[in-house]
């Protein structure tokens, strides 16, 4: 659904920067607390890249977890999803920092001969 919008934006941004070059790989940071599903994004990416300089390119997804602190015991909690709990069992956590990334880090393009 929204993954298609995301995939199209990736193609727009990368194709514009790539110019004449073919894109081999796009590296994307995706926070684990965003509502973007990597599997759905890969599917949409394949569709969105057709007949573009990105066709056939690899989409590398780097998962970025959020970080929070337990309000009961003070431990740091790494949040892989919004329903994460602390080791102590508490789900009363500070609002997470990070985990909401949706960022194109880089792309790899073919050398121009």
């Amino acid at each position: 659904m929204h993954e298609l919008t995301v995939a199209r934006r990736i193609v727009e941004v990368c194709a514009e920067r790539a110019g004449e070059a073919r894109v081999r790989r796009v590296t994307l940071e995706v926070g684990t607390l965003t509502c973007v599903m990597p599997e759905a994004l890969r599917f949409c990416y394949e569709v969105a890249t057709r007949a573009t300089p990105l066709e056939g390119s690899e989409l590398e997804i780097l998962a970025c977890p959020g970080r929070s602190r337990c309000r009961r015991c003070g431990r740091e909690v790494t949040m892989f999803d919004l329903l994460a709990a602390c080791e102590c069992g508490s789900v009363d956590l500070d609002p997470p920092s990070g985990g909401d990334e949706l960022r194109i880090r880089s792309m790899e393009i073919e050398e121009m001969s």
Binding site: M1, H2, L4, T5, V6, R9, I10, V13, C14, E16, R17, A18, G19, E20, A21, R24, L28, L33, T34, C35, V36, A40, F43, C44, V47, D81, L82, L83, V91, D92, P95, L102, R103, I104, R105, S106, M107, E108, I109, E110, E111, M112
Partner: protein, 292 residues
């Protein structure tokens, strides 16, 4: 064509102004200069860079940067006019339009309220809203599953809400995608009806995390459905500890006073921070339910 959900390239979102009958595709909805311009930068083709320095091109660009930029532009436009804009999100059938109709019919004095309706198809909702005497425009997203900031820029341009007014944006009924797209609103309001199930805030945590207020609608049906209000609120606060909650019945009226009071508080916040560039200062007037 996306074979997962049927999204396609072909259908452009349409904006309908029922007052004039004009239907515009959102690419051309606004006059030149009033709308989005492509982002700056993207100057040197990366191919040239790659030839000289290798093949990895750093981009460091947020995927939704363009939407976020347009959303901030909408937010600044609204703030400069002291306009409170709320983004109403829910699954289809939770009662967004009914709550809006009720709110619009109950208001007895300014501030004026403008409505932006979002649906994939039909003018049904905008006609319901217009029947209350309120100014409204309809965005049809075609196969799109959410509104975005560019659509709202076009709709605001057409709606032309007066300074100090309230703009209600009724998003496409969907508990997933609207969470990701900032429209420039002051706050999202999530509406969950008690017929949908107690566990929805945990099943769709992103939407409830992004909302300032959760309205529990259709509480008149509580005797007939298996819904645990206390547990639902606890679930919502697990994903969003600061979320406010108002249980109400948009059809029977129970709890609506709390909703109006909440709206007034949001308006006061906007009016308090409002420094109009020009024109008369906005005065927050209370939104009072009509007696009887």
């Amino acid at each position: 064509m996306c074979t997962t959900c049927g999204c396609s390239d072909g259908a452009l979102p349409r904006l309908t102004d029922p007052a004039t009958g004009e239907i515009l595709t959102l690419d051309t909805a606004a006059p030149p200069g009033a709308r989005a311009t492509p982002p700056d930068g993207a100057s040197d083709p990366a191919a040239a860079v790659a030839g000289a320095h290798g093949t990895t091109v750093p981009l460091e660009q947020a995927v939704l940067a363009e939407n976020d930029r347009l959303a901030e532009r909408n937010r600044a436009w609204l703030a400069a006019r002291g306009i409170l804009a709320l983004n109403l999100v829910s699954s289809p059938g939770a009662g967004k339009t009914t709550l809006l109709e009720r709110t619009l019919r109950n208001r007895t004095d300014p501030p004026s309220i403008g409505v932006i309706e979002g649906d994939q198809e039909t003018q049904f909702d905008v006609e319901r809203i217009r029947a209350t005497g309120c100014r409204a425009v309809q965005i049809n997203t075609g196969t799109g599953c959410h509104l975005d900031a560019d659509m709202i820029a076009g709709a605001l341009d057409r709606l032309a809400p007066p300074p100090g007014s309230l703009v209600m944006i009724e998003n496409v009924g969907n508990l997933v995608c609207p969470a990701l797209f900032d429209l420039g609103e002051a706050a999202k309001v999530a509406i969950l009806s008690v017929t949908e199930g107690t566990d929805k805030p945990l099943k769709y945590p992103h939407l409830f995390r992004s909302a300032r207020l959760m309205i529990l609608n259709k509480i008149d049906l509580l005797p007939h459905v298996d819904f645990d209000v206390t547990a639902c609120i606890a679930f919502a606060r697990r994903v969003n500890p600061d979320i406010e909650v108002i249980p109400l019945s948009a059809t029977r009226g129970e709890g609506l006073d709390d909703w109006y009071a909440w709206l007034n508080r949001q308006r006061d916040d906007i009016a308090g921070g409002h420094r109009p560039d020009r024109g008369e200062p906005s005065v927050a007037r209370p939104l009072r339910p009509r007696a009887g």
